[in-house]
Symmetry: C2
Subunit: 193 residues, 2 copies
């Protein structure tokens, strides 16, 4: 049922990986719209293996710890393919910044503006990063981008989503900050009388 297993299968579909490799991709990798810690990954890999969807081979390395390198099996590929187009019920979204916006008028004005300007910056930077990565993809693998089964194809799609998401988010942050600044200042606690 869980989505994590399919996240792992998705990466293993692109080639054999160790649990450590997977935790690196899912920990750090940018434009990833999924994420998991190694403490969740190792047990899940064990479960996938018990169920016959993947298998592993131990690689002994001279200078560093041994590796368990996992490979996707036909049953794993089938499970992945089936999941890809299975019915997707809408997941409720949670976003703390948007939640804050609901009451932001009660906050200190300056701090509120600073918060949203700061967030705007963050999202603009992320957008710039994704754009750079897309540019690289387009230059290095232009032909592969039209071939759906190429790993570049999916990567390109998710990066595009990242760009759009961050661009829109940054624009909203700016609009909130601007609107807060335009609003009439709260009168300093009435001193008359």
């Amino acid at each position: 049922m869980g989505t994590l297993r399919f996240a792992l299968l998705s990466v293993l579909e692109q080639g054999p990986r160790s649990g450590y490799d997977l935790s690196q991709t899912l920990d750090i990798r940018i434009s990833s719209f999924w994420h998991a810690k190694h403490s969740q990954i190792y047990p899940e890999l064990a479960a996938l293996e018990r169920e016959g969807l993947i298998e592993h081979e131990v690689f002994e390395q001279a200078d560093r710890p041994d590796k368990k390198v996992y490979t996707i099996k036909p049953a794993g590929h089938a499970a992945l393919v089936e999941w890809l187009t299975s019915p997707l019920e809408p997941e409720p979204k949670r976003d703390e910044l948007v939640l804050r916006a609901l009451s932001i008028g009660h906050a200190d004005r300056e701090r509120a503006v600073a918060l949203f300007r700061d967030q705007q910056q963050r999202h603009r930077q992320r957008e710039a990063l994704y754009r750079k990565l897309v540019d690289e993809l387009e230059q290095d693998h232009a032909r592969k981008l039209e071939e759906p089964t190429s790993p570049m194809f999916g990567r390109y799609l998710t990066l595009q989503r990242g760009i759009g998401y961050e661009r829109e988010y940054a624009a909203w942050c700016k609009s909130v900050a601007d609107r807060l600044e335009a609003a009439p200042r709260p009168r300093a606690a009435s001193k008359r009388r």
Copy 2:
């Protein structure tokens, strides 16, 4: 630490509510970027009361069960205001559809296109709904929209976010579906030789 308590305080800031009322707003209400079930809300309200951030009064009703109506206390207001501009560390985003996009090239082409066209529809409908709600806000409470402490102010901001989010999401879904259709059909399992 949890964000739920602030979600509850945010709503109670706009006026006294029962746990049931809160569960209705957080369950159903549109353009909400937070969500909780009653099984989580009732215990959290009890905790907030123990900590002196809210208080309740029982309303006995003739034809239906009694109500516990909660009101925010000054300490609760202070906690809310402080939270609003407290440092916000970036939360890792999770989105199953984007995750699916990563491997979508391996799915059945027709089913994949159908999935993304369907999702595009969903997001377009949500966008339309939010637009309608903003229009209503603008017509009924136009003057209140510039006053930050009005409940309409925050509601307007979150609806704007909703519109942008859904518009962008729908556009991305369309672009994925289009790209899938444009891609060269996978050759039927090679029959030559």
